[in-house]
Subunit: 178 residues, 2 copies
């Protein structure tokens, strides 16, 4: 992954207790669908462990970090920022432009919030992107955005250093220990 | 929607307290990404109200039901059943076959579980489908599955009887009251 541009996901607004599982799902979705790294708000340290345990078991590379200054991450990000919001432009209208800049080598920071996102995030973003203009789920938006960005290639990704590999089955479960 | 086949989403294994927000996100994702109906376990009655309130505000049609016999829903479903699970066959390999049967008029029940899904669900399913064979999120799997099933057409859906409509913006928020 050294030579290709990076995709990092910034999870804003984690509220301890209330957001634990949503934050976990954001992190695991970022990992499974091709992001390189997720940045979580400081209060989500336990979630970091959960996500890292999945990477230990099922492979990587995938990094998890916590930050107590998400605004600073936004300010200091050197390349492009995508903010997923139901108020933004339809993903189907902007995905080609985003993909083109990513393929030209631009790192991408994908920002997903909880309920309320501060105004400066909308301003910091190069694209405010809506996966439908309907209220639903930051996990769903992230998943659809990544699947479209990579045009499905992320589904065939190979994982390094996996202890466990799921072997696809028409019926039942099969996990091979490596 | 009367003449086209139906897509219903069955949310299994809602644990009150722990699963409230995930179940809400499953329901809202089903609605936003083109399903006609969601069926929730009985304990999720509060979630039903949350989802119905979104439909009241942002439009439909979309139905929410609760069931205390999810196994009966599975047994009595007359057409095709898709179970989303990390142990199943890759979505990219089976989506064409599923779409083809749906377009031929087969109603589709899409089943998503919480942590542990009983064995008979795997057996009842016509397809056990994996959106990657990695652990991540039932919300993410549902979103990617629906977006692929409809090939993006769901993103251009028109909503009926909406009180509020979000007008896409490059920056900022705009909601029009109808």
């Amino acid at each position: 992954m050294q030579d290709s541009p990076e995709i990092a996901v910034l999870r804003l607004g984690h509220r301890p207790g209330r957001d634990e599982r949503m934050t976990t799902h954001v992190g695991l979705t970022a990992r499974a669908l091709g992001a390189d790294r997720v940045l979580l708000a400081q209060g989500a340290a336990d979630r970091r462990t959960t996500i890292e345990n999945v990477t230990d078991g099922f492979g990587g590379p995938f990094e998890v970090e916590t930050t107590d200054e998400p605004n600073r991450v936004l300010c200091e990000w050197q390349a492009r920022i995508v903010h997923l919001t139901m108020y933004g432009l339809p993903v189907q209208e902007v995905e080609t432009e985003i993909r083109s800049q990513f393929e030209d080598g631009m790192d991408l920071l994908v920002v997903v919030g909880a309920e309320k996102v501060q105004w400066d995030v909308y301003e910091a973003a190069d694209w405010n992107v809506a996966v439908t203009n309907q209220p639903h789920s930051e996990v769903a938006s992230l998943a659809v955005f990544l699947d479209r960005l990579f045009e499905g290639d992320e589904l065939d990704r190979e994982w390094e250093d996996a202890d466990r590999v799921v072997v696809p089955q028409a019926e039942g479960k099969r996990i091979e220990e490596q």
